[in-house]
Point group: C2
């Protein structure tokens, strides 16, 4: 509730019980919250419990928060019962605009306007979803990565009527709740992570379509090549480290012309001096100016762990 | 040596002592081989030894092969001395075509024609490199990922004069030597892994250029979102698992239309039924028909390990 500090939130309602809605419930339970799931139909209960049990085994291995327990879970098919006294709502119903619009209209009327309603939508805009909601200021898109209890990313963006206070409060709340929120600067289709994922995917499809690589070769290339690095560092920091002492500046000044090469079917942007500087400054800022030796040491330590992990998996 | 089984190779020469050449030397040493590095100039010796020491610390953590020792390392600035009695050559000199052409001409004359000469080149074609070599049949491109002692990928392709026997022998040799070789079906610029990496990179540059995301947001989106999955599974298997029981077939039939959406600036290929079936069959083949429950269990187990690893890094 926006009139409460994010640290004091205790009761969360998850609307929807599919892999995303159920995954959110598992995450919040492991963080020690009281969680109520709203199910569209009681027949969904069994699958949801199976999902929670699977998730719980993983979450116990990673480590539960103090007081976290499956005893803090309840469910109902009554929307008013599900939302009474709740302090935060994570909505994950199917991606049908009319369905979400109707739901937000109802929630807008029955839920305390201080309670944030966050939508897991990956493709709809909050401007559209909140159109019939009487209290739209507290509605915001908060798109997770699947499974939400293992991958921390939450991409956030408001609709036209969402208040800045709501976005700010929700960002702080997710940090308290063990997530990695990312407030988008502009609304773009696919947000950030899905666009990057889609770029790889399309290039992979092109290669298969042209007989340049098999499905298995594409996957092996990723898993045995750049994949383990991406678990540890993003594409920008990887090039920042790849540039050695010279960092991103060296990379761009040296390999900038490679953007003209036909590597991928994606036409590269013009490497203007503005873009060059934005990349260089961004890397230095992001890494707090940490030097090459320290960054590469960190990267190698992580790769060693991943290599050990894979070795253990093969042996087991 | 192609007249020896790959299992019986013991003496390897690494030509070049930069991060790639030195990284290869570290890898082969950790696998128990006798390694001789050829240095262009004795002044490179100090940096090479530093690189080997750093690498060795990582390699000891992962686990050394029986008999592996830094005592098996030697170096020289004399090319004949470096290659006499060697049984495999990994060449990693700078990416200058004339330089490589001259080197392969000389190696072609002084090295036993049964010895494979593999080039770490990321951008030159073996057809061009081998042009003045008198014994080109045994020369092949074998492009590693950096650092070669932590990332197993080696992308292989021959030149016009490379023999099929050489490619086959070298692929088997790398498997024995603890690498993950991938023989390309066609020569395409950037091979497979770099093309996929470049697709992400270009989309990232577009986002920064358009003010849609900051450098840090791009990296956080990858590391907290799809990144950890890519350490464990490639993009095809991820969608195969993402499709639930229905696998890749469900994914393509359901989300195929999303290829028309402006997610990334990369124009998607037409999803013909041939391409659809190639993707579906490829996934089933690659995973040996393993079912959703088993694949997703494996994926989650890996993500749990990565989450634990990151937690430990934060605490340390």
């Amino acid at each position: 509730m926006m009139n409460k500090s994010p640290e004091h939130i205790r009761r969360i309602t998850c609307i929807g019980s599919g892999p995303i809605g159920g995954g959110w419930a598992a995450h919040f339970l492991a963080q020690g919250y009281q969680v109520t799931s709203y199910l569209h139909d009681a027949s969904e209960h069994e699958a949801l419990m199976r999902l929670l049990e699977t998730a719980w085994a993983s979450l116990e291995t990673i480590g539960l928060a103090d007081g976290a327990s499956m005893d803090n879970f309840s469910w109902t098919c009554d929307l008013e019962e599900a939302t009474v006294n709740c302090e935060f709502i994570q909505e994950s119903v199917p991606e049908i605009l009319e369905l979400k619009q109707g739901l937000y209209q109802r929630l807008g009327d029955i839920v305390d306007p201080q309670v944030v309603i966050a939508s897991s939508t990956s493709g709809l805009s909050m401007t559209d979803i909140q159109i019939n909601c009487a209290t739209p200021e507290r509605t915001v898109v908060a798109h997770p990565f699947n499974p939400p209890y293992l991958l921390p990313l939450v991409e956030m963006i408001g609709g036209k009527k969402t208040s800045a206070a709501c976005i700010d409060w929700t960002e702080r709340f997710y940090k308290v709740a063990g997530k990695a929120p990312l407030v988008m600067k502009k609304e773009i289709p696919g947000f950030i992570a899905t666009r990057l994922q889609e770029a790889i995917w399309r290039e992979a499809l092109h290669m298969v379509a042209n007989g340049e690589a098999t499905v298995e070769q594409i996957d092996q290339a990723v898993v045995n090549g750049p994949g383990p690095r991406w678990a540890l560092m993003g594409p920008c920091e990887i090039f920042h480290v790849g540039g050695g002492e010279g960092g991103m500046a060296y990379c761009l000044d040296q390999f900038g012309p490679a953007l003209k090469l036909p590597w991928t079917r994606l036409v590269a942007p013009e490497l203007t001096s503005e873009l060059r500087n934005a990349m260089v400054d961004g890397c230095i800022e992001m890494t707090n100016g940490e030097d090459f030796a320290s960054l590469s040491k960190k990267m190698n330590a992580g790769l060693v762990e991943i290599a050990k992990m894979k070795l253990n998996q093969q042996l087991s």
